[in-house]
Amino acid sequence: MFELLGISPQALFGQLLIGLINGSFYAMLSLGLAVIFGLLNIINFTHGAQYMMGAFCAWFLLEYSGLGYWWALLVAPIVVGLTGVIIERLFLKHLYKLDHLYGLLLTFGIALIVEGLFRNKFGSSGQPYRIPGELLGGQNLGFMFLPNYRAWVVVASVVVCLATWYVIERTKLGSYLRAATENPSLVQAFGINVPRMITITYGFGVALAAFAGVLAAPIYQVSPQMGSNLIIVVFAVVVIGGMGSILGSIVTGFGLGVIEGLTKVFYPEASNTVIFVVMGIVLLIKPAGLFGRAH
C-alpha cells in the first residue's frame, strides 16, 4: 500500500514524527492563546512577540551572564510573564468590557512595536543559540535519525500542556479562574480577588509563550521575526480547535502538526497553506471549532 503512495514506510514514519515535534510548538502556543481567550476574552496578538521575547531572553542570559539553557527555561518565562503582567495592568484591564476587537488591536499594536524595536537593534538574520550539551546528538531509530533535542521538545510540551490542562480543569485554583471569568461580580462577592486572578492568568499565558520560545531557540534562529511567522498559523490552530477550549487547542496543535508534516512529503509547496485550508473547511462545517462551545 505504501508503494502505491510513492513513499516508503520508513520515510512516512519519519515525517509523522517530525510532524509531532512541530505540532508540540503549535500545541503550546495555542494553549497559551486559548487560556487567555477562554478565561479573559482577549485575543492576544502579542503572543508571537512574547514567544520571541522568551527566545531572546534565553539568548541574553547566555550572552551576558553565562546562564545556560536550563536556567533560561525557568527565568525567561518569569521575566516575560512579568512584562505580560505589566501590559495587563497598564492597558488590557481597561478593555475587558469592550468588544473583542479593541483587545486585538491593542495587542497587535504592541506586537508590532516590540518586533520593530528588536529588529532595529538586532537585524533580521537572527542570533545563534546552541543546543545544550546534555541534549546533543541523537538516536538512530532505523527509519530516521531523531535528534535528542527534538525528542525533549515533544516530552516537555506534552508535560506542560497536560499540567496546564489539569490545573485549569481539575484543581480549586482553576475552578476559581473559570468561575471568575464567567461571573466576576458574584465571585468577587465571595471574597476572591478577581482582578488579581485575571492578571495572573494573563501572565501565565504569556509565560507559556516564553517557555515555547526558549524551547525553540536552539532549533530556529533567535530572530525578531520568529513570532510573526508562527502566530498566524497558531491562530488558525486555535480557531480550528475552538477558541475557548484548552483540550481542543492541545489536540488540534499536535494533529495539525502531523497534517502539515504529511503535506510536506506529498506536496511540499502547499505546506504553508494546508492549515488554512483545514481552517476554512472546519469553519464551514462547525463554526465554533472542533471542540468549541458556541457562545
Partner: protein, 404 residues
C-alpha cells in the same frame, strides 16, 4: 501684432523645450533603493544598501561632482506586486531616475519590466536570476554583482570536481530557487554528476526538518541549498542537528552572504564552500570602505550586495555626468555599457551588451573558529575565477539585445 507675438513666444518655447531634454529631470539625480527592509533578506541588503548609496553619493561629491543627488529607500516585502507598484509610484510620481539593489528575483523581474516600460534605469545588485541578462534582458537594466550562472559554475563546479557527484536540492519555491537549481543541475550533469531529486519549500520556511529527512533518504552525497538569507541559515543550522554530515553527506550553500555566516557563527558554518564577488578583507580599498560603512550601519560589515550598490551608482554618476542628462534610461545605460568601469571596490571592469557587469569571482571557504583572528574574519580564499570565465558566455543567454 498679437498673432505675431504669440507666434514668436511659441517659437521661443519650442526652442527651449528642445534644450530642456539635455537637463537633469528635476535638476537632480534621484535614487530609489528598494529591497527587503524587514524580512529574511534584510541583512544582506536592507537599510545597509541605503548606506552604501549614501557613501557613493558622498564620494561623488568629494571627487568634485556637481550634480545634486537625493536617495530614498523602500521595502518591497519580497512581493512582486508590492515592488512593482512602488516602482511605478517612484518612477511616475516621485521623480526617481534609477532604482537599485532589489534582491528577490521575482520582484527584480517585475521591476525589470516596469523600468523598460517607463524608460528609466534599473541597476540590480541584490537579485540572482541569470534571466535578467538572458531571456528577460532589456536595454534599461544592468545586472551588477552576481547571478545564478556564476554561483552554479563557481560553487557547483568546484564541489562536483572534488568528488561530490550526486546531488539533492532544497529549493526555494520561486523564481530565484528554480533558476539556481536549473543552472546548478546543468553544471552537475555537464561535469559527470547526477541529480537524484529536489524538494521545493515555500519562501521563508522556519523548519526544514521534513525536507532534510527527504534529502537524507535520497542518499545523495551533496545536499544543494538553492535558497538564501534566512532560509539558508535555518537549513544549515538544522542539518547539523539532524546529523547530516555525520551521516556522510555534505551541504553546498549555493548562495551565502557574509551576513549569513555572521548569523550562523563559525562553529556551525566552518568548512562551507561559497562563491562571492566581493569580500571586505581582500584589499585596503575594501577595508577603508568597510570602516565607513560599519560606522553608519550599526557596526555590521558590508556584503557583496552592498558593495554592488556602491559600485553601480559610482558608474551611473559618471555616465550621467558625461551625458549631462538622466531623463532617457536607454541612453544612460548605453553610456554605462560604452564606458569601462573603475571604482575602488570592484576595480576595473566592463558592462556587456546584455547588461551583465563583468568582474572576477572568488571561491571562499569559511574559516574554523580558531582560525578567525578578528571580527568578521570569516573567509579564506580558495580560488579566483577570472572575469572572462566567471559569467555565462554572451551568446548562450538568449538575450534579444545580443542576437537581435
Amino acid at each position: 501684432m498679437k498673432i505675431t507675438r504669440s507666434l514668436m513666444l511659441a517659437a521661443v518655447v519650442a526652442l527651449t523645450a528642445g534644450t530642456a531634454q539635455a537637463q537633469l529631470t528635476n535638476g537632480e539625480i534621484k535614487i530609489g533603493v528598494m529591497n527587503d527592509m524587514s524580512g529574511l533578506y534584510a541583512d544582506l541588503g536592507g537599510p545597509g544598501s541605503v548606506v552604501a548609496a549614501q557613501l557613493a553619493a558622498e564620494d561623488y561629491a568629494a571627487a568634485g561632482g556637481k550634480t545634486k543627488i537625493s536617495i530614498i529607500g523602500g521595502d518591497h516585502q519580497n512581493k512582486p506586486d508590492v515592488g512593482s507598484s512602488l516602482a511605478r509610484q517612484w518612477y511616475d510620481a516621485d521623480g526617481v531616475d534609477v532604482i537599485v539593489d532589489v534582491p528577490t528575483s521575482s520582484v527584480a523581474l517585475a521591476i525589470n519590466q516596469v523600468a523598460a516600460e517607463k524608460n528609466k534605469v534599473f541597476l540590480v545588485s541584490g537579485a540572482a536570476t541569470s534571466d535578467l541578462t538572458g531571456k528577460a534582458c532589456t536595454p534599461n537594466t544592468i545586472h551588477w554583482t552576481y547571478d545564478t550562472w556564476m554561483l552554479a559554475n563557481g560553487t557547483g563546479k568546484a564541489i562536483v570536481q572534488s568528488g561530490g557527484d550526486s546531488w539533492f536540492f532544497l529549493t526555494a519555491d520561486y523564481a530565484f530557487g528554480h533558476a539556481l537549481e536549473a543552472d546548478t543541475s546543468a553544471v552537475v550533469k555537464a561535469n559527470g554528476g547526477k541529480v537524484l531529486g529536489a524538494v521545493r519549500h515555500p519562501l521563508n520556511t522556519a523548519d526544514f526538518s521534513s525536507f532534510l529527512l527527504q534529502a537524507q533518504a535520497s542518499k545523495a552525497k551533496i545536499i544543494g541549498l538553492a535558497n538564501a538569507g534566512g532560509d539558508t541559515i535555518n537549513a544549515i543550522k538544522q542539518s547539523s542537528e539532524f546529523g547530516v554530515v555525520q551521516g556522510g553527506q555534505n551541504l553546498a550553500g549555493l548562495l551565502v552572504f557574509l551576513s549569513d555566516v555572521n548569523s550562523l557563527g563559525l562553529k556551525t558554518a566552518q568548512g562551507l564552500i561559497l562563491t562571492e564577488t566581493w569580500y571586505w578583507d581582500m584589499n585596503d580599498n575594501n577595508r577603508a570602505f568597510t570602516k565607513r560603512f560599519a560606522a553608519k550601519n550599526g557596526g555590521k560589515y558590508p556584503t557583496m550586495a552592498h558593495a554592488g550598490v556602491y559600485s553601480s551608482l559610482s558608474h551611473y554618476f559618471k555616465a550621467v555626468d558625461a551625458l549631462k542628462a538622466d531623463g532617457d534610461g536607454k541612453v544612460v545605460v548605453a553610456k554605462m555599457k560604452e564606458m569601462p568601469t573603475d571604482d575602488p571596490l570592484f576595480g576595473k571592469g566592463v558592462v556587456r551588451k546584455d547588461g551583465r557587469k563583468i568582474h572576477p569571482a572568488y571561491l571562499f571557504e569559511v574559516k574554523k573558529p580558531e582560525e578567525s583572528k578578528y571580527p568578521y574574519d570569516y573567509y579564506k580564499l580558495k580560488a579566483t575565477i577570472p572575469a572572462d570565465q566567471a559569467f555565462r558566455p554572451l551568446n548562450e543567454g538568449g538575450c534579444p539585445l545580443v542576437s537581435g
